[in-house]
Amino acid sequence: MKIDPLTFWIVLPVLAIGTYVIRLSFLGVLGNRPLPEGLRRALRYTAVAILPGLVAPAVLWPAATGGQTDPARLAAALVTLAVGIATRSVIGAILAGGVTLYAVLWL
């Protein structure tokens, strides 16, 4: 599905300003004050709490296959994760995942 232009033109400025406010928060306005440890602890896990959940349904039920679990995409996802954990290399993991995807698709 294509992105709805109206959605885009609402999301773009709010996301841009919101992201900038996040970056400016302490450096620009709040200054040198400690962050409560509980908040600091929660913030440490924001990215890792969202990104895996965002991709999990797309891995198991890809839109491209009409929601049917696809061995090629599943294998590619697992190889990406394994190579990423083993090598800590983002690019290495992407390449390994891409090669796996096309290798299984064409076999």
């Binding site: 773009l12 709040l30 969202i50």
Partner: protein, 239 residues
């Protein structure tokens, strides 16, 4: 090896290795966003004004799934919340600069400039403010222009790729590749596992709200695991 004297150039050198990550990531964003129906102007505005790759991918994915505006915004802003920590961590070192300078540095406060600057300022905390500011801008110099240029190149290439070659799986692979190195402690693994399981369980909830719910649970699980493992948390540990 001759040590580099100029703090700006030392900043450039410190963030140069990130170029190998930033360029393909931005290229891919250009391609994926174009395939999702954005034109060249929209892709460039996106990369210039938001300037935060993971949240840009998340927003494109959710908008493509026709999630409501509020869900798109809540999810992609949550992806960027980690930058509050970056802002806190940079303030003792850069907070003495003029407001205009700080406002500009805030725009350039991305994963790479934070990581490189944090390492430098911890190693040499006593250098003058001007040197720290110069170092910070140095870390941005190799990254930002390439981020914009590669987004542009990706969008141009994306317009030329026929839809039947749609790279539907490029985004999942990229996100998994970004996540894998983040799994550096047991609480991070717990958070990721809860995120995946809850997102799958709640996939049927309307309007992408399942992901938000999963994110809240996963964050709580990560923080809870940290407390359980260390007694009272890893005090003073920066992300």
């Amino acid at each position: 090896m001759t040590p580099i004297r100029s703090p700006f150039l030392r900043g450039c050198a410190a963030s140069a290795p990130f170029v190998i990550v930033v360029v393909p990531f931005a290229l891919l964003f250009g391609v994926v966003a174009t395939e999702a129906g954005l034109n060249l102007l929209q892709v460039m505005l996106f990369s210039l004004s938001v300037f935060a790759g993971a949240s840009q991918f998340a927003a494109v994915q959710l908008m493509q799934d026709q999630a409501p505006v509020l869900v798109v915004l809540a999810t992609s802003l949550a992806v960027n919340l980690r930058m509050v920590m970056y802002s806190v961590a940079m303030t003792p070192h850069l907070g003495g600069a003029r407001f205009g300078t700080r406002a500009l540095m805030a725009y350039f406060l991305v994963d790479q400039s934070f990581a490189a600057s944090q390492m430098e300022f911890e190693r040499r905390p006593d250098q003058p403010l001007a040197d720290k500011v110069a170092f910070f801008f140095g870390t941005v110099a190799p990254i930002a222009p390439l981020w914009f240029a590669a987004s542009f190149a990706g969008a141009v290439v994306g317009e030329a790729i026929p839809p039947e070659y749609a790279l539907d799986f490029a985004v999942p692979i990229t996100f998994l590749a970004i996540c894998a190195p983040m799994l550096r402690s047991i609480p991070h693994v717990v958070a990721a596992a809860v995120s995946i399981i809850a997102a799958l369980l709640f996939a049927g909830l309307p309007y992408g709200t399942g992901l938000l719910l999963a994110a809240v649970l996963a964050m709580a699980a990560g923080a809870g695991a940290e407390v359980a493992l260390t007694g009272k948390g890893q005090a003073g540990h920066e992300d």
